[in-house]
Symmetry: C2
Subunit: 247 residues, 2 copies
């Protein structure tokens, strides 16, 4: 399926572990025909508005430590935010935090449809495939999405270091939250499903009754490949213990 | 997408109306490699265990009357019940009501995976596509699934003629239920989401916040093409009025 879908990648698709990891904000690439970067400066394209810096490195470390499959985006969430349905304003946002996104202003229906077809639909079909094929074979997959958040948002510093967000079933998120990781950890911070950030979980975990959690890691803690590997090594045993508890 | 998916059909995919109709139990065909009919007799293959008799005729009538899109199965639900996730016992049932299904006994993981890949995944991807493309263009789709049920179940007659079932959002089902159709109508009869019959709604309507309803029509009322057309003509104004109320 990856042949037809240039805007995401799948790693370890046949992994034996229960975890299916999703990193939908993995990339700040602006592939053609969006290679003008939607009119943003290079600084803006490197900033957290374009992606979740460090998240892919942590997700890859977790996939290795937990023997999990991983699906990750290969294009900026400003082209299409895969964690939003096509009718959400945030799917192709005209503004993100304090930044206007020139290339997303007054998008017509044809452009919204084109991005939905090239980004949203293939990614979600591929994730549905990963999960359904495991279920068909009698396996019990667990869905974990990996994100990072900015330490300063609208000028305000955020103290929380590690947030766990859930959709309908809070068991896995609470169980991870209760592990000792040495991080300042909070449930449903810095945001929650009520903010519309749980689409991936609501679309893929809840209808199938799968244990799930959305990990949010403050991005200053995972700024380098070394820090990302260390964070994955820190979180993997906590996630494993929480999965064992939830069963 | 239909080229790769021989086991379902899509009609009126570009329909202008809000309704997207689903008829997942439309067919009692047993296409190859299941053309031995899973070991069932011809009578069993014609019975309600293999499909929802009359449902496709009603669904087509509704698609025409409401200018809606329609996606329908082209293979028996005994091969794969598209309204069940791959891990549900009812997805590829070894027994249905009082009938054993020989070709579904002791299915191995490879066969379950094959049917999931050929039936479940393409159908659900196509429906996701129909809905997401409407949302991307600023339309507000409504998801309605069309089923029929047997008048006698485990030897007991059923009095209800028309049932409305919902997932998380009960507004449309209640609004249709309140219309005057001349039918003995009940909410969440002859079964409800608690019986695991709302997978299609839970998977496609609820995560997108779409108004939805599952129609259940007693199959003795829609036994002929003429009766199916009459039922569609009877229900279409009720559904239209209910959709207008829900907005």
């Amino acid at each position: 399926m990856t042949d037809d879908a240039p805007f995401f990648g799948i790693e370890n698709s046949d992994a034996a572990g229960a975890v299916v990891l999703v990193c939908e904000h993995a990339s700040n690439a602006f592939p053609a025909p969006w290679d003008d970067g939607l009119g943003l400066s290079e600084d803006q394209r490197r900033a957290h508005i374009a992606w979740d810096p460090g998240a892919l490195g942590v997700a890859r470390g977790l996939a290795q430590a937990l023997d999990g499959a991983l699906i990750h985006a290969r294009a900026s969430r400003l082209i299409y935010d895969l964690n939003r349905p096509p009718h959400a304003p945030g799917a192709m946002p005209a503004r993100s935090e304090i930044h206007d996104i020139p290339g997303n202003v007054d998008l017509d229906a044809a452009e919204r449809l084109a991005r939905t077809r090239t980004h949203y639909l293939p990614f979600h079909a591929a994730l549905a495939d990963l999960l359904a094929c495991r279920l068909a074979q009698g396996l019990s997959p667990v869905l974990i999405t990996v994100h990072s958040f900015t330490p300063i948002y609208f000028g305000q510093p955020r103290a929380v270091e590690f947030g766990l967000i859930h959709d309908a079933d809070d068991r896995l998120a609470r169980a991870i939250c209760a592990q000792k990781t040495g991080l300042l950890t909070r449930l449903n911070e810095p945001y929650s499903a009520a903010d519309g950030v749980a689409h991936m979980l609501a679309r893929h975990a809840t209808p199938l009754g799968l244990p799930h959690a959305m990990l949010e890691i403050r991005n200053d803690l995972i700024a380098t490949p070394k820090a990302q590997a260390a964070m994955a090594a820190r979180l993997a045993p906590a996630i494993k213990a929480a999965m064992d508890e939830v069963g």
